[in-house]
């Protein structure tokens, strides 16, 4: 019983510690805000198993995130840590926390907007994205592909600033 309590406390503690590990490409977001951290397990021998899921298949940030998790936990007294990658269920922008979306907008990146129709429809209407700088909805899509896998490139027709949109993935 005592052992179980210790284990639960250790796991809760690790979740808290990992709030400080951020996405290297969007440093305002923690891996918890992003919904990338899936599971923390502390085994009886003290070994820690951390499971993360990639946002995009080719996201080059995953290796850095795994290394940052290990370094963070090493510094906090957990020397034996393994990080595993889990694909299923596949990550979706629905897992971004409301707090994460707010942080994104404050940072100048428009958060994902719920699409009006089927996101996989090939000739659907473009989603209305609000400019994170002047909040105008008079914006236009420049390219579905932006500075990282998870972002599209927009421009505001009101304040004329180009900006990143964290595109919806479902």
């Amino acid at each position: 019983m005592l052992l179980d309590t210790t284990k639960v406390t250790a796991e809760e503690n690790i979740w808290k510690l990992l709030e400080e590990v951020s996405d290297p490409e969007i440093p305002v977001l923690s891996i918890l805000d992003l919904g990338v951290l899936k599971k923390v397990q502390v085994q009886e021998n003290g070994k820690v198993q951390v499971t993360i899921t990639p946002t995009y298949s080719g996201c080059p940030a995953m290796n850095t995130i795994a290394a940052d998790i290990k370094l963070k936990l090493l510094a906090e007294g957990y020397p034996d840590v393994a990080v595993n990658l889990q694909l299923s269920p596949a990550w979706t922008t629905d897992w971004l926390t409301p707090e994460g979306k707010r942080k994104l907008e404050d940072y100048g990146i428009a958060p994902p907007v719920e699409p009006e129709g089927d996101i996989h429809a090939l000739f659907g209407r473009d989603t209305v994205v609000r400019c994170p700088l002047c909040t105008s909805e008079n914006t236009k899509l420049i390219s579905q592909f932006g500075s990282t896998s998870c972002k599209a490139h927009y421009q505001c027709e009101n304040c004329l600033e180009p900006f990143d949109y964290f595109k919806c993935l479902k």
Partner: protein, 267 residues
């Protein structure tokens, strides 16, 4: 960095025959996305405008991400202790099982867009069905990549329309690309023995059920782009059984150079 996927438990329950079939198929999918991803990566820094340079690099990254998952899973199915790197870097051209279309040189931007368009539709509709495979390994990879592939097909479809219904010059070029590349589209849907056996046991969809969706999408986009589809074309094939064009050898020479020169090298 040793970041690996959690192993798929179901693999342990498969018969050796099923494992061999799934290994062959997974390898073929991996080869296909690797070779096309590599081709697209050759554009990096050479795109016609910055946004499209980024778009092609992004699509390449998605494809190579999918490739890594597939090679890791293939290595697991094979069970001989190979790594994803062994499979990508230490096999010869004849061992590669990608369809011919994806290994063809980039040509001009129109050729690249056309090659991508013909592939993207096939890729998207296949992944959509493969998500329901009873094999959890393939289903997980397909579910992940399906979401990304929607954006690929939107991109290439829009460019086909823009170039086809664009200037005289863009129309001439994209029509020429279609005339040259159409003959490689048939191989995508020609099933190998491995594919037929897996389709019979319902591990993968029968490609004949995918083709009508592709036909409809392609016809709609070509009509909007005012392009004419070549008629009565002899369809080339061979890549999926290891008979490649001369281009693949040159591509692999560059792709595999570091591992051949410095075996076991890691970042």
């Amino acid at each position: 960095m040793d970041l690996h996927h959690t192993p798929t438990a179901a693999v342990q329950t498969y018969s050796p025959e099923l494992r061999a079939l799934l290994f062959g198929y997974t390898l073929q999918l991996a080869d296909t996305s690797l070779i096309l991803g590599h081709r697209l990566s050759e554009w990096c820094g050479h795109g016609p405008i910055l946004e499209q340079d980024l778009a092609m690099a992004n699509i390449a990254l998605d494809l190579i991400g999918e490739t890594r998952s597939l090679y890791q899973y293939a290595a697991e199915l094979e069970g001989k202790g190979h790594s994803e790197d062994d499979l990508a870097y230490l096999r010869e051209a004849v061992d590669y099982k990608n369809p011919l279309l994806v290994e063809l040189p980039n040509g001009d931007f129109g050729d690249t867009v056309m090659r991508q368009f013909l592939f993207d539709g096939f890729h998207l509709f296949l992944l959509k069905e493969l998500q329901n495979s009873p094999d959890p390994g393939l289903a997980a990879i397909a579910a992940k990549s399906f979401k990304e592939a929607s954006y690929h097909l939107k991109w290439s479809s829009e460019w086909i329309i823009r170039l086809g219904d664009g200037t005289e010059e863009s129309k001439r070029r994209i029509q020429k690309a279609l005339a040259n590349l159409w003959r490689y589209s048939g191989e995508l849907y020609t099933m190998t023995q491995t594919e037929q056996q897996l389709a019979q046991s319902e591990f993968i969809p029968d490609y004949a059920t995918l083709q009508p969706q592709w036909d409809a999408h392609v016809a709609r986009v070509f009509a909007e782009a005012t392009l004419e589809v070549p008629q009565n074309v002899f369809m080339q094939q061979g890549g999926k059984t290891g008979r490649h064009t001369e281009h693949l050898g040159y591509l692999l020479t560059e792709l595999q150079y570091l591992q051949r020169a410095y075996p076991g090298l890691e970042w």
